[in-house]
């Protein structure tokens, strides 16, 4: 079980600003370390170990981004769908207010027969 997943509460909401979406630097580091050609064997071994660590870090980073995306609020629909939902909600509110207005102050005419 990934520790990062355990710490994440499914009801928690985060903003886009909190989300860490810098994946490219990690990839760049990996490729750079691979392409570095060391003549020294010990340095090479160390570099290859660092490289594998960086690959793991990349995987972790990607998983973290995915889980954080799932915590972002308001992205269940596309922008257009969301706007149309908003409009229908506004209409619903107006209709209900009108209904209440109509029946709350209803005046009964008593017929004088």
């Amino acid at each position: 079980m990934d520790i990062a997943e355990q710490q994440v509460d499914p009801n928690r909401k985060i903003t886009v600003d909190e989300l860490n979406s810098d994946i490219l630097p990690v990839i760049y580091e990996i490729i750079r370390s691979i392409e570095k050609d060391h003549h020294d064997n010990t340095v090479k071994t160390r570099e290859s170990q660092d490289c594998s660590l960086r690959v793991l870090e990349l995987q972790k980073r990607l998983e973290q981004v995915r889980s954080e995306i799932k915590l972002l609020p308001g992205i269940e629909f596309s922008k257009e769908q969301q706007l149309s939902n908003l409009e229908s909600l506004k209409t619903q509110l107006k209709l209900k207010q009108k209904l209440l207005q109509k029946y709350r102050f209803l005046v009964f005419d008593v017929q004088q027969s």
Partner: protein, 271 residues
């Protein structure tokens, strides 16, 4: 509209694409020289990666705008929920009002029907009062207001009153003149009715119909008085006139019942 994918899915797809491209690039980097991609291909791959990263950032910007819209929607939803509660409350109150009004209308209709029914056959209040007075004058409906425990008065003729009546003094020689009167009457009837038992019954019947008038001492000085002979006598001037409230046949039946009925509860009460 429904074919549009959600922003969340879009973001996840972009991340998957970035992962794939990164994997390609790393594999290419570790691959032997003969398996490596050409420079142009590698450059293309790199550009694609950068483009995907930019797309990710743009989509994240869109997500932040959607988050703001979502906050507004939450406020609206709270408002709508409040309106829903108010509507439910109003509905309950209207339902209650409708029930009360329908009950009131039903009762009012019933009252109108009874008014119409009463108007069809009007009865004068004088007559009603007259009958109510007759019914209650003998104190059979309700005890006199001054009645207490130990008061000898009863709503029916007690045995003392019966003994003081005509039947009770039938064998009394002092009462002879009345008895003679009765005998003359019974003679007239006897000629037409040879039966012994029927003679007895008729005599009793006469006793009731021509009844000895005995005023009850405790009676109020009003027009009507109930007498132990079983009749109502209306006071007219100084005398009293017997009023036929029952027909003679009914009296006969009563007499028969009384004569054959051995058990009598009245004697136990007059103490």
């Amino acid at each position: 509209m429904s074919s549009q994918i959600s922003t969340r899915d879009k973001l996840l797809y972009i991340v998957d694409d970035i992962e794939l491209i990164a994997k390609e690039m790393i594999e290419n980097a570790i691959a032997p020289k003969h398996a490596k991609l050409s420079g142009a291909d590698y450059a293309q791959l790199t550009e694609l990666l950068v483009a995907k990263d930019n797309e990710l950032k743009d989509t994240l910007q869109l997500a932040s705008e959607q988050a703001d819209i979502d906050k507004k929607m939450d406020l609206l939803k709270a408002e709508v929920d409040r309106q829903d509660q108010d509507i439910n409350q109003l509905q309950k109150q209207l339902k209650e009002a409708e029930q009360i009004l329908s009950t009131a209308i039903y009762q009012a209709n019933q009252k109108l029907q009874s008014i119409a029914k009463a108007n069809k056959r009007p009865v004068s209040s004088e007559e009603l009062i007259k009958f109510a007075h007759r019914i209650s004058a003998s104190n059979a409906v309700c005890a006199p207001l001054t009645w207490q425990q130990g008061d000898p008065r009863r709503p029916y003729p007690t045995d003392i009153e019966m003994r003081l009546g005509f039947l009770g003094r039938l064998s009394d020689p002092v009462n002879g003149h009345l008895l003679q009167q009765q005998n003359s009457l019974s003679d007239i009837h006897r000629s037409g009715h040879p039966g012994g038992k029927s003679k007895f019954l008729f005599t009793l019947c006469e006793l009731f119909t021509d009844g000895f008038v005995l005023e009850i001492p405790a009676s109020q000085p009003n027009q009507f008085a109930w007498h132990p002979s079983g009749e109502i006598h209306m006071g007219v001037g100084q005398g009293s006139v017997a009023m036929d409230t029952r027909n003679h046949k009914q009296e006969n039946e009563d007499v028969e019942v009384m004569s054959t009925d051995s058990s009598s509860s009245s004697s136990s009460d007059s103490q």
